[in-house]
Amino acid sequence: MFHRRRATMAAFLLPAIVVYGVFMLYPLARGVYLSMTDSLGGPIANFVGTQQYRSMADDPAVTDALWHTVLYAAVVVVVQNGLGLLFASMLFRRPGVRKVLSVVLLTPTLISPVMAAFIWSYLFAPTGGINALLDLVGLHSLNHVWLGDTSTALYSVAAVNIWMFTGYSCAIFLASYMSMPTELLEAAALDGASGWRRFVSIEWPLLAPALTVNVTLSLIGSLKVFEFPLVLTNGGPAGATDTLTLLVYRNVFGGGKFAYGVALSVVLLVTVVVLSSATSSLLRLRERRI
């Protein structure tokens, strides 16, 4: 009787397996194969082995984009989670303003990346919001062409990412704060541990799982960033904000280098999987040691 029941239950899996298999797993496998051909997207594809990957090594556009992608991710992960943690720890100590401010901080996450890029492209414009604000407070000397200078463009794009998701990071830390055992915090208060001491020796270890989640999520998210650089700079100036995703998009859909673009997307996959699994295993190990 239970045997037949199990067969029926297993049948529940069919629709999911069909959709997921046809539109996710099959394209994934086919992508890996296509990256080893000279396909232009048409019916003809000759197997060329690792040729696409070998030509990447001599392509400065690719090495630059890989470096930009990793640098961008590093900046976003550190600053966004640092700010999120700072906000969360301050909010936790102030129940009065906690709810209101945490919800307010979450509002930027609701915007679409395209719309956020719209808003910030004006804020960053030479005569736009930020420069006008600097003039207002008498700091005209700090005026800058934020997106037009190769040394600041990538950081400016990262700033938009940080603005959008700091509230998200804060919400995760705050949820972790709210689930801390009250007795422990009270005991610490009775022992006179306060402020910084209490944060370092009690809260920080308890926040370890939240840190793992936050770092992993923001790392994956920032490695596959696409809309921000596309709308804000389209990879410019002089390729300073070219990321792997932009190169994939440009090669696959705009350059007659279809297979090369697919090979680049495999490089993106490997980068995401390697970096995110390495980071999350390291952080999990750390959780166990605490």
């Binding site: 899996l13 999911a16 997921y20 086919r30 906690r98 689930s179 696409f226 596309l230 997307s265």
Partner: protein, 307 residues
């Protein structure tokens, strides 16, 4: 990730579990309640409010600028508005074909949401209850999908859609979104069903209740909270996505809000008075949803973060 994905206690939900009694609040232990400490706490609150204000400022600026005339903004970007106008909004409305593109986006988002929740919850039931090698393997295969960026499959998907004659069709886009979001749905639902004791189902089975009836009468009603959380998350993703509709919906009549905004508005050549209303129009439908489901949204965003 953790196995506990029931909605965690979030500030908005728990009134009872407020902060512990900290030094500086009402403690009985006679620890420091010094004027200095009160001053630093107060200063911190001020700084905190200022910091939050910095995050909201771009929004405020966007709204105010949208309501001013272009000439007025050009004269002083941060000035006080002389007169307010709604003309920018009506211009943006027609420029990005807001009416039709909003309907298209709503259609795609809602169909994808229905497909993901139905197919995902059905699949999660056996994955949570059957403990055998093959089901663990299938579960792992689904979880693998959570770390695959859409960019990796976009090119082969394009060829597949072309071969299936699904380019430029809503069905194609909905199928892609369903496949992309299934891993998250399977993860959420499976961990949630695992946290439900199996006694009820076993009793139902002994009473001769089939797997189908058990699922629909016992499991499905329990999935409501996790479904609302999941829907918030997925609808945000789909509504705000640019890449999939940009690649798979070239027909101007079928385009979504984001694609139209991206194709009709070049942020480097247009005035902020064109740019900002378009950006706000793109956000409004979601804001309405957010206000309605505020609790689930906050819970959904921090779900899985708490052990």
């Amino acid at each position: 990730m953790t196995s506990d994905t029931t909605a965690p206690d979030v500030p908005s939900v728990s009134g009872t579990r407020s902060a512990t009694r900290l030094p500086g609040s009402r403690t009985t232990s006679g620890t420091s309640r010094t004027p200095l400490r009160r001053l630093t706490t107060g200063l911190g609150t001020v700084l905190l409010c200022l910091g939050t204000l910095l995050f909201v400022l771009p929004f405020v600026f966007t709204v105010v600028t949208s309501l001013r005339t272009a000439a007025d903004v050009a004269r002083s970007p941060l000035g006080v508005p002389h007169s307010l106008t709604l003309k920018n909004f009506s211009d943006a409305f027609s420029q990005i074909h807001y009416g039709s593109s909003t309907l298209n986006t709503l259609l795609i988002t809602s169909l994808s949401c229905v497909a993901v929740t139905v197919i995902g919850s059905l699949a999660a039931y056996p994955l949570a209850r059957i403990t055998q090698h093959w089901s663990t393997a299938v579960y792992r295969l689904f979880i693998l999908g959570t770390s695959v960026p859409v960019f990796v499959v976009v090119a082969p998907l394009y060829l597949l859609m072309r071969d299936l004659n699904l380019l430029d069709s809503y069905a194609g886009v909905v199928l892609i979104y369903t496949a992309l979001n299934l891993p998250v749905a399977v993860f959420f639902y499976t961990s949630f069903i695992r946290s439900i004791p199996a006694d009820l189902e076993e009793a139902a089975a002994l009473d001769g209740c089939g797997a189908f009836r058990t699922f629909f009468t016992i499991i499905l009603p329990l999935l409501r909270p996790v479904t609302s959380t999941l829907l918030t998350f997925i609808s945000l993703q789909i509504w705000n996505d640019l890449l999939v509709p940009l690649v798979f919906l070239q027909d101007p009549g079928k385009r979504t809000v984001m694609v139209n905004a991206y194709s009709f508005i070049d942020p480097h050549t247009v005035q902020p008075t064109t740019l900002f209303p378009a950006a706000l129009l793109g956000v409004v439908p979601l804001l309405i949803i957010f206000v309605f489901f505020q609790r689930q949204v906050v819970a959904g965003m921090s779900a899985g973060a708490v052990k």
